[in-house]
């Protein structure tokens, strides 16, 4: 895990990109530590805000020379949601934001040339472009499948097309590219580019499906988890609240709850027990002690 720093970051830019907001922050000593997959936790609201929890975002771009970090976020929907991102969208250029970064681990990157497929749902593409650069620096090649519910919620299609002609786009309402789920062209694409590794970022359903297909085709697969736990991946940004756990199989074959904000967000997809997220699988370490016949909110 990266060693996170806490900084009062200056807001350098805040501008719309389609349905998203691009936020550029300047903070000392952070950009040079950031790798693709790392996260920044932003405190929303000031000292008199009713919101205590930091909000987590993937770093989209880090510029060590300019000492800047770029994040891309959307205002959350849902009937009682979006309080934090709505407030963030109101931030003022020139003001400051309290950030903790870099958090979590980065995507493992092959140290040689490889054909990589990068799959994203919605804003899941945010961390994939830095990853693509790294892969290409190592002589590899990249292809993309980018999906979203509709055209407005796609992010980075143009940028992907600059990098490679192999860009497939899916939207659930058919407003752009193939109508359907991002996982629709998955198997075919993997075969077509003879993928040696697939990286996926987005909703759990996407990550699960990518892992399944990759496993079937015997291709390595790394996933960046995020919305698996609607309550609070990255809520503390410290690794101490233990709200962000998901069951992951260790090297020793034992399942443990891993923290998405420390041991993650990037996991080998085959190690994540996708179907057991949101449960306490009986064989997870320490599960036995959870059920002595007493229930309670502790």
């Amino acid at each position: 895990m990266a060693h996170p720093l806490q900084r009062q970051a200056e807001i350098v830019e805040l501008s719309p990109v389609g349905a998203y907001h691009r936020l550029v922050l300047r903070a000392e000593d952070i950009a040079e530590r950031v790798l693709p997959g790392h996260v920044v936790a932003v405190a929303v609201g000031g000292p008199d805000s009713a919101m205590l929890m930091r909000r987590a975002f993937f770093v989209h771009r880090a510029d060590p020379d300019e000492q800047t970090l770029e994040i891309v976020f959307s205002e959350q929907g849902g009937s009682d949601q979006g309080r934090g991102t709505r407030e963030l969208a109101q931030a003022r250029v020139g003001g400051t934001l309290d950030i903790v970064a870099p958090l979590g681990n980065a995507f493992p990157v092959p140290n040689g040339p490889v054909s990589a497929l990068l799959v994203a749902g919605g804003h899941g593409s945010v961390p994939l472009f830095g990853l693509a650069d790294l892969i290409r620096e190592h002589g590899g090649s990249v292809s993309f499948i980018l999906g979203a519910p509709d055209a407005g919620r796609l992010f980075g299609v143009d940028r992907a097309k600059e990098l490679t002609p192999d860009v497939l786009v899916t939207t659930e309402d058919g407003s752009y590219g193939i109508r359907g789920h991002v996982t629709l062209p998955l198997a075919e694409a993997m075969k077509a580019i003879d993928a040696g590794v697939v990286y996926a970022s987005g909703p759990t359903s996407v990550l699960r499906a990518v892992t399944e297909t990759a496993t079937k085709l015997d291709v390595r697969c790394f996933t960046a988890v995020e919305e698996t736990m609607a309550c609070g991946v990255g809520i503390c940004g410290v690794g101490t609240c233990l709200a962000c756990v998901l069951p992951v199989v260790g090297d020793d074959g034992v399942s443990r709850f891993a923290r998405a904000c420390v041991e993650g967000p990037c996991f080998d997809g085959t190690r994540v027990r996708w179907d057991d997220i949101g449960t306490v699988p009986p064989d997870v370490e320490g599960a036995a002690a959870m059920d002595l016949g007493v229930t309670g909110a502790y």
Partner: protein
């Protein structure tokens, strides 16, 4: 400014004696600790501040066996608060002593180990493990756990069961180790529980653990947490916590309870919040939920509290303890 305003000569912040009484007649270099469960076993927090500079660090509650904790979702944000149903995940006491405690000792941390169980003997079992533990300066008995022998009612909600746990722990623990009882506010009289614990031998009291709360998700139409209810923490509950400390300290001043030190907690975000607890009667203060917002909060709160005491002319922390009762 009201007529009750007191006028004192401000001091330099650095010159305040922050030495804090700690149960059993001992002291700690300063009153600030971490609230159990909010600083893990210290490893993550150490990235943001040197642990040895805190008065102590209170660990996540340790249980006899390793525990996975509850299913997710385990946490929900509430207005100025946080609701959690984490479920005391942990490595178990044996692994804790061998690995975590050793690591903490290397860093020079003074460690208060929070312990719990679902039966009286499990608390005692944990306590026994800690008698020779390096760096351990005290035990905090988390009485908010459900009592398996009493239909799952939390030990802290019944004076008799609270008493039994404290007595059992006090019996097996090294007499040199202060034992703190951690109380919850979900009772008709927190003073009655405090009295029972002190009578059972508690050397100090920690107040408060999280009152029970619930959030219902208006999209799924179901409770937000997998545990249904959870514990409410953060600034939202601060007035409740300050009231509990004040009530119990008042009972001590009135001679109804033997005087023991109180560690106050509940929504401390800044030095002035900590000062409220001190004025109410706490000689120690724990920073919990605020860590999730600001991982450097414990040390910042210490510095701000020192400044606040100085600005009010208190030469010693202890001069301010319970000052609101005067």
């Amino acid at each position: 400014m009201t007529d009750a305003t007191t006028f004192v000569a401000p001091l330099e912040g650095g010159s305040v004696d922050m030495t804090a009484p700690f149960g059993g007649g001992g002291t700690l270099p300063n009153p600030v600790t971490t609230a159990s469960g909010c600083a893990g076993y210290g490893r993550e927090l150490a990235k943001f501040q040197p642990l040895a500079e805190l008065g102590s660090i209170t660990t996540r509650t340790v249980t006899p066996q390793p525990r996975s904790g509850r299913a997710t979702p385990r946490m929900a944000e509430t207005p100025s608060g946080l609701l959690n149903g984490i479920g005391l995940p942990g490595v178990g006491i044996a692994h804790f002593v061998e690995n975590e405690l050793a690591w903490l000792a290397e860093r020079g941390a003074r460690v208060v180990v929070s312990i719990a169980g679902e039966r009286v003997d499990q608390f005692a079992e944990c306590a026994q493990w800690l008698n020779d533990g390096p760096a351990v300066v005290g035990l905090e008995v988390n009485l908010a756990c459900p009592d398996a022998d009493n239909q799952g009612l939390a030990f802290a909600r019944n004076p008799a069961t609270a008493h039994d746990v404290i007595q059992a722990v006090r019996e097996v623990a090294d007499p040199a180790l202060p034992v703190y009882a951690k109380l919850t506010p979900d009772v008709a009289s927190v003073t009655d529980i405090a009295k029972a614990c002190v009578r059972a031998g508690a050397d100090g009291l920690s107040m408060i653990n999280t009152p029970l709360g619930m959030v219902i998700d208006t999209d799924t139409l179901r409770p937000r947490l997998s545990t249904t209810a959870g514990g409410l923490s953060g600034p939202a509950i601060r007035p409740i916590a300050v009231r509990c400390v004040y009530e119990v300290h008042a009972a001590m001043r009135a001679g109804e309870i033997t005087t023991v030190p109180i560690t106050g907690m509940g929504g401390i975000r800044a030095g002035l919040d900590a000062l409220e607890f001190v004025l109410a009667g706490a000689s120690g203060v724990a920073v919990g939920t605020a860590i999730f917002h600001d991982p450097g909060a414990p040390l910042r709160v210490l510095a701000e509290l020192r400044e606040a005491l100085a600005a009010r002319g208190f030469a010693k922390l202890t001069d301010a303890v319970g000052h609101a009762h005067q």
